[in-house]
């Protein structure tokens, strides 16, 4: 048993630089994943500029703006949580991480109302109202639901990851001298934020 364990531990060496390299590569693949959708957006916008303009007028810019502020703030609290753990302040780190999570929840609640509003107007995939519109508008809303939907899914995944990090901080698996997991989760959270920064103008501001 003992010898088994020792071979186990020599096996799992620690390499923070490697862990971060892996994470950056992963973020890169995420960017490309969304990149495919941005490409589709660009192509269809060129094809149907008029209808994209019309549809964008229907968006609720206020909710979009609030959500942008929420996500930007959550990125800040994320950074602060990492800074706190570096300064050996476990308590503060937990507080900031929980704030990040709460902001994530707020974002999703907002999103829920926003989607609910569109749906109550009868605009959802396959609905009669939508199908009676022009092709360009159908595409606009198709992309709107697909892109913000996939983004929302990423917010949820990010929050699940952060929940795990919270547990790790609490039971000292993440400490002031070993916090690459938290840093990597932070990077992921920033990515989710950055993608929103692009979605926001494309769907809400460019009219």
């Amino acid at each position: 048993m003992v010898s088994n364990n020792s071979s186990h531990t020599t096996h799992r060496h620690r390499d923070d630089v490697g862990a971060k390299l892996g994470m950056w590569l992963f973020l890169f693949t995420e960017l490309l994943l969304f990149g495919g959708m941005f490409l589709a957006y660009a192509v269809y916008r060129m094809k149907y500029p008029q209808q994209f303009h019309l549809s964008a007028m229907e968006m609720n810019t206020t909710i979009g703006t609030i959500n942008t502020i929420i996500l930007l703030t959550s990125s800040l609290t994320m950074v602060l949580s990492i800074a706190a753990i570096q300064k050996k302040n476990k308590f503060l780190s937990i507080i900031f991480l929980v704030s990040t999570l709460i902001l994530g929840v707020l974002f999703l609640i907002n999103k829920y109302f926003e989607w609910g509003h569109e749906i109550s107007k009868g605009i959802y995939p396959g609905s009669e109202v939508l199908l009676s519109k022009d092709n360009g508008e159908i595409l606009y809303f198709g992309l709107y639901y697909a892109m913000t939907g996939l983004h929302g899914l990423h917010v949820i995944i990010g929050m699940i990851v952060l929940l795990f990090m919270l547990v790790f901080i609490i039971n000292d698996n993440i400490k002031w001298d070993d916090y690459v997991k938290l840093e990597n989760s932070g990077l992921y959270w920033h990515l989710v934020d950055i993608i929103w920064i692009f979605l926001f103008p494309l769907f809400y501001l460019i009219q």
Partner: protein, 548 residues
């Protein structure tokens, strides 16, 4: 360093596991040891390959006579789709990197494991999940997909077959591929043994490294594209469907932006293995080492810019078509650099034509035909004539099966003694090589003629004048079945009854030959220190390998 000086371990990784369970299936399917994971992949991938071959035999049987022979048109569509999906996503894309990359990448750079062993295990589980999903699509109501492996819009949003499940399966398989790629890139950057600088790495590592980058960069595009069809099918969201304003040609672009680079995910690792085998059996350092290494990276890069050569008949603008045709010709240059350097390596080498070397010869022959007919298809004027005919079917089988598939078998024979610690019967193995060449040409060469004369692909029926060539091809398929059975039987037999393999049966000089066969759990008794270049055969002087 020949096996005389190597310190050999007394316990192999088969006796020592990374899990608590020392034996039984749990010691395998939960193991984070890269060697065990490589063998898990081997088992799964070979199984799917056999399934793919059996389906292909049914396809060929249907084509033995015009009209309905054993299946109707509908079933035929499902059969070639299934054959294509299995061969592409379950066999040839993961093939060499997942099995031999996993097993040998860490060993060849002198590492104990990959950078993220647990992620590696997750990749295998994802692979198995994707495969299981693909198989469930067979049995659920609706039946297997009938779109062809390319899932072209708009048919793929209309058909009632289980396309959604097949797409989701391909998505998960893509995810598995991305994680493997990410793992390998990080491993090469972070875990090279002391002294193993970039230009001391074996060329196999360069090839795997370039491949891993393609996996990381290209796969997400297909991931999102397939996901979008799923969303379109399930929720009726308008994205590609032309009745909702979508653009099917946009789908084709997105699909091929991945799927052309995927061709290099299949062939680059094979080229890496070829460099290893040629060096070992010529007892010479690879001629133009740096050029061969860089050509891997060049292929990975230029391979990105040629995707629309699959779409010459889809309504590209003339400028775009000419440009993509030109770039397609350019991509042939780095491949040719490799072939010429391999031949220069053999020149004046002391060649020892053992089984793996013979496979490589078959590879060079078949792959050259595949590559040159690729140029025929890359030229605009001829492609308009040959597009979607059996000429294309012949071309891609020469490249994928004659190229990557052949090297898959070559790698199996090259590293078999290292992986399993046993030798196989080389006479039977050599017989397998000859039979393979003959069956392969009988099976696929008639397809060039069929296509040239106008036989379209993906049809269960044909005009009577094509029958002779189709019958020859079907006979070739039977010969291929016998050949593959012989090859696999020979290896299985070796597992049970083969002689014990020495640490260095071929006289190779890369690191895997300096540890015992099979290697110990952490690959080396001591982490090796690298001083010379990768293929320095002067180390072998005066040993039993026949060097003066």
């Amino acid at each position: 360093m020949a096996n005389g000086t190597a310190v050999l371990a007394d316990k192999s990784f088969y006796e020592e596991g990374t899990t608590k369970a020392k034996s039984g299936i749990a010691a395998w399917i939960f193991s984070t040891d890269h060697k065990r994971i490589g063998l898990l992949y081997l088992f799964a991938i070979v199984t799917f390959f056999i399934v793919g071959v059996i389906i292909a035999e049914l396809i060929r049987l249907e084509l033995i006579a015009p009209g309905e022979t054993i299946v109707d048109a509908e079933t035929y569509n499902r059969l070639f789709t299934l054959h294509g999906v299995i061969m592409i996503f379950l066999f040839i894309i993961p093939g060499i990197p997942a099995i031999f990359g996993n097993f040998f990448l860490p060993i060849q750079i002198g590492a104990k494991d990959v950078a993220f062993p647990r992620l590696n295990l997750l990749s295998w589980w994802l692979y198995m999940t994707g495969a299981a999903l693909a198989l469930t699509s067979l049995f659920l109501p609706g039946g297997p997909a009938d779109t062809g492996w390319t899932f072209y819009i708009p048919y793929s949003v209309r058909t009632g077959t289980n396309v959604t499940i097949a797409l989701f399966a391909a998505f998960i398989l893509g995810f598995s591929s991305i994680l493997t790629g990410l793992n390998f890139v990080t491993t090469v950057h972070r875990l090279r043994a002391p002294g193993m600088t970039w230009f001391k790495m074996p060329l196999n590592i360069w090839a795997l490294y370039a491949t891993a980058w393609i996996q990381v960069i290209a796969t997400p595009i297909i991931g999102i594209t397939l996901l979008l069809i799923i969303v379109e099918r399930t929720f009726g969201v308008g994205i590609f469907d032309p009745t909702l304003g979508g653009d099917p040609v946009l789908y084709q672009h997105l699909f091929w932006i991945y799927s052309h680079p995927a061709v290099y995910v299949m062939i680059l690792p094979a080229m890496g293995v070829v460099s290893e085998i040629i060096a070992t059996f010529s007892r010479r350092t690879v001629f133009g080492y740096k050029m061969v290494a860089f050509s891997s990276l060049t292929i990975a890069f230029v391979g990105y810019l040629v995707w629309a050569h699959h779409m010459f008949t889809s309504g590209l603008s003339e400028t775009a078509a000419v440009l993509f045709s030109l770039l397609t010709f350019v991509v042939a240059i780095p491949s040719a650099i490799k072939v010429f350097n391999w031949i220069a390596t053999m020149y004046k080498g002391s060649i020892d034509p053992r089984t793996p070397f013979k496979w490589v010869m078959v590879f060079i022959f078949l792959f050259s035909i595949g590559g040159l007919t690729g140029l025929v298809l890359g030229s605009l004027a001829t492609d308009v004539h040959l597009h979607d005919t059996y000429f294309v079917v012949a071309h891609f089988h020469f490249v994928m099966f004659g190229g990557a598939g052949t090297i898959f078998i070559a790698a199996m024979h090259y590293w078999f003694p290292k992986m399993f610690g046993r030798m196989y019967n080389e006479k039977i193995a050599d017989l397998g090589v000859y039979m393979f060449l003959v069956s392969f040409l009988t099976l696929y060469f008639p397809m060039f003629l069929l296509g040239y004369n106008g036989q379209p692909r993906r049809y269960f029926d044909y005009l009577p004048q094509f029958q002779t060539l189709h019958v020859i091809s079907t006979i070739g398929a039977w010969m291929m079945l016998i050949t593959l059975t012989l090859i696999i039987w020979n290896l299985i037999n070796a597992l049970r009854k083969g002689e014990k393999a020495p640490a260095n049966p071929w006289g190779g000089v890369t690191l895997e030959w300096q540890t015992s066969s099979p290697p110990p759990l952490e690959n080396f008794e001591e982490i090796p220190e690298i001083t010379g270049e990768a293929y320095d055969f002067s180390k072998l002087k005066g040993t039993e390998y026949g060097l003066k």
